[in-house]
Amino acid sequence: MNAITHSTTETTRGTALAGKYMTFRVGGEEYGVEILKVRELIGLLEITRVPHAPHGVRGVVNLRGKIIPVVDLRTHLGISNDNAAARPVIIVAQLQTASGPVTTGVVVDQVLEVRNIAAAHIEPPPSFGREDEATRFILGIAKTDKRVVLLIDLDLVLAETNLSLVA
């Protein structure tokens, strides 16, 4: 999806991105993920650390008998742990990878709401000209109700997580 949207014009970008998003907070920033990717929300699960796992993987949890990896968005986005929530929430998402769909947990500080975001409110993210900028995960910036929601590409987050372990 991201490959296509990056190459298309801004209007089609907005149209392609319009839809329902679940918004959540990481640090002081508000992000949105396409609602269709979200399977469920879980809290209060102890995460088992996996030593030598790729950077950005917090560990694994037991999701009703299935063991799923949990990705920490802070690492990917470069957000410090300073004001991390005491009780984080795990968003369980079905993400697409080259080898098929993978159920993955994503740790966030707080889940906010589900909202409809119209094409007109979506703007392209700026690039700061660095390779490691967090902007690469951002599909678009949605402005509504005086708030800004960063629409995040979780597929790419997972893809980069898997990439970093090959290197």
Partner: protein, 694 residues
């Protein structure tokens, strides 16, 4: 009055059998069609007439007792008649079988049923070979080939039909006493079952790959041989009323019009499978070993569903134990405790039941070994029989499949190297025929498979010499007998003076070890010169569950597979030493082992620094022993292994994960990888463990 064309009548019959129900009216119409066909055949005569007459007789016999089987009977008869009426219409080109979902379903059932049938046939054949023929056994064999022919006809598997048909004809001859099931005849039937099995495998592969089923290269010649054999039999003396005469079919029958007609209205066809099962269960058990088991009714369930159920029950048990250990107010009341106790009991029963759904008896694998022993023995010019014990022992079905390869190599090895030639045996004061004993049993929490031969035993000195030659052994004096015997598992190791087509290339025993270790099992060898050797495989009950020791490192917990653990001990200061103050060694009863700190290996903070206040778990893998420094050993527990899945990287230090009793995830350490971190200079891997010895 003009006599109708038999072929046309046959086609009518073939389509009728697919459309009618097994009720009175349906059977009446079938019988009518059959009689009409018989009348039409009467002026023609020949084998077809007898087949028809026999079909009618059987029809009447069966009708009262098993109406559903009548359909089966008629369809099989129709296939026979088709072959008999058009013997010359040879067309070897395999028909393009379009495999829609329904067909695949039928094929799958066919494979399953026929596979079972052939196993039964093998069992009977071996029994006949050792204990002689009875009419019951012959009838049972006849039924097997008959059934295969019938369903293969549905599915347009012309080669299988031809082979099954010829074999069935041979059985018919035997049944009527014109030929005895010994010597060549028995050999041909053995060949036929082998061939059928091979063709079924081909069919399975063809279906899985979605390609056309090619013809089997040797099938035609075998059918020809069968037919020649049949033709060479003395002609029928008294024309018996019911009995069919020698039936000679064309070597390659056509897949022509009738078979197509049978297959076409498949949608309305009765499922062949239930009939099959009924037929099987109605049949008197042909051989002694499985008297009660055959009468059981079975249901086929997708393995995935069973697995997911087993998984869910595992979850249930964990939730149940979480509930039991909760310290919430109210959990102490008597009623609550009683109810919880009951819940616990039911959950565990449920788990046991679910686990048993995955298990199958080792019977099937053992039977194949009996065949193999026979074949290998014949090729090697030795008389060998295989005695099996405990074939009812059940184990995980995935394991039974994975056990077959090692068993094949072990049996070959035993027959080729273990058992001596009849002359040598006589000279040694033994019976000329060798005996292999294959035993399966439950022992404690393991399954033990034992293959024992009464041959000459392993040649300790020759193995050792070969081991030294190959650089596998550095200090021969230090080796125990068991360690010497284990040398034969090294890849490419062979003491056979000559390479035969059976064994001697040195592949084989390493396969045994590899496969068994892949199942987290172990191989032990016992051998006494002149008295034979015993190979003992000790396997876990199931691949899904592992016995593990839960250890803590800092605040984290890990599982160490119990099978890899040699011992656990608290080291004293005197046992510890270092190389360059960094790499640590541990001396356990004179043996110096490398010691790895799990905390630094896995980057765990807060672990105990001083080994004398912590514990060392000594683990072994691939002949290497390593001490793992952990904080504490919590408990031994059985856990269900789960894949760690994607998204956590290579994670090579873990062989999987498990859900612990508190619902959290624990990682299972991959001892092979951990031990693999250590390597020894100047020594081959097998010799390595001995280097450290004084």
């Amino acid at each position: 009055m003009s006599v109708p064309n038999p072929t046309a009548l046959l086609e009518q019959l073939a389509s009728l059998v697919l459309s009618v129900d097994a009720d009175e009216a349906g059977l009446d119409s079938l019988l009518h069609a059959l009689t009409e066909l018989y009348d039409a055949l009467e002026p023609v005569g020949g084998p077809a007439l007898d087949t028809a007459s026999k079909a009618i007789t059987h029809f009447k016999e069966l009708r009262a007792i098993a109406p559903r089987e009548v359909l089966q009977l008629v369809s099989a008869a129709a296939v026979s008649l088709q072959l008999e009426l058009t013997p010359s219409a040879s067309n070897a080109a395999a028909k393009a079988v379009t495999r829609d979902q329904d067909t695949l379903e039928l094929v799958r059932d066919f494979l399953q049923e026929s596979g079972d049938g052939i196993s039964v046939a093998d069992e009977i054949l071996l029994n006949i070979e050792s204990a002689g023929t009875t009419s019951e056994k012959v009838n049972a064999l006849f039924r097997v080939f008959h059934s295969i022919k019938g369903v293969a006809g549905f599915l347009e598997l012309t080669e299988i039909v031809a082979l099954a048909h010829s074999t069935e004809s041979l059985m018919n001859e035997v049944r009527d006493g014109r030929c005895s099931l010994t010597g060549d005849a028995l050999e041909l039937v053995f060949k036929a079952t082998t061939m059928l099995r091979a063709m079924l495998d081909d069919l399975k592969r063809a279906c899985e790959a979605g390609v056309e089923l090619g013809s089997h290269p040797d099938c035609e010649s075998l059918v020809t041989r069968l037919n020649e054999f049949l033709a060479g039999l003395p002609p029928e003396g008294e024309p018996a009323a019911v009995v069919a005469p020698v039936v000679v079919v064309a070597p390659v029958p056509s897949g022509a019009p009738l078979v197509a007609a049978i297959a076409a209205p498949r949608a309305s066809a009765p499922e062949p499978e239930p009939q099959f099962e009924k037929l099987e269960s109605a049949a008197p058990s042909p051989s002694a070993p499985r008297p009660a088991g055959k009468m059981r009714e079975t249901v086929k369930v997708d393995l995935e569903r069973v697995d997911s159920m087993v998984e869910m029950i595992g979850e249930l048990i964990i939730v149940e134990s979480m509930l039991k250990h909760s310290r919430e107010p109210g959990s102490t009341s008597v009623t609550m405790r009683n109810t919880l106790g009951q819940l616990g009991k039911i959950s565990r029963d449920l788990q046991n039941a679910a686990m048993r759904m995955r298990t199958v008896p080792v019977n099937n694998a053992f039977q194949k070994m009996a065949r193999l022993t026979r074949e290998v023995g014949r090729k090697a010019g030795k008389e060998v029989v295989l005695v099996t014990q405990g074939e009812g022992t059940e184990m995980d079905r995935a394991m039974v499949e994975r056990l077959e390869d090692p068993l094949v190599h072990m049996v070959r090895n035993a027959v080729d190297h273990g058992i001596e030639s009849p002359a040598e045996r006589l000279a040694a004061g033994k019976q000329p025929g060798g005996v292999l004993t294959l035993t399966a049993s439950h022992q404690g929490g393991s399954i033990v498979i034992e293959l024992k031969d009464d041959g000459k035993g392993l040649d300790r000195d020759r193995i050792l010499k070969k081991g030294i030659e190959r650089g596998l052994v550095s200090n021969p004096e230090a080796l125990t007998e068991q360690e010497i015997f284990q040398l034969i598992f090294a890849p490419g190791f062979s003491t056979a003076p000559k390479v035969t087509d059976l064994s001697g290339r040195g592949v084989g025993m390493d396969v045994v070890k590899r496969n068994v270790e892949a199942m987290r099992g172990r191989v032990f060898i016992e051998s006494r010169p002149g008295a034979g050797s015993t190979f003992r495989l000790v396997l876990p009950l199931t691949l899904a569950i592992i016995d593990g020791m839960l250890v803590t490192v800092g605040r984290e917990r890990y599982l160490v597979p119990s099978l890899s653990i040699v011992e656990a001990l608290q080291p004293t200061a005197a046992m510890l030493m270092t190389i360059g103050e960094r790499d640590e060694l541990l001396s356990v009863r004179g043996q110096v082992l490398p010691m790895l700190r799990l905390s630094s290996l896995l980057g765990v903070a807060g672990a105990r620094k001083d080994p004398t206040t912590a514990l060392v778990v000594v683990v072994e893998s691939m002949g290497k022993r390593v001490g793992l420094l952990v904080d504490e050993v919590l408990a031994q527990q059985q856990v269900v292994i789960k894949a760690l899945g994607q998204g956590v990287g290579k994670a090579e230090f873990y062989s999987g994960a498990a859900i612990l009793s508190d619902g959290n995830v624990g990682l299972i350490l991959n001892i092979d990888k951990l031990c693999g971190l250590i390597s020894y200079k100047h020594r081959a891997a097998t010799g390595a463990q001995h280097e450290a010895r004084p």
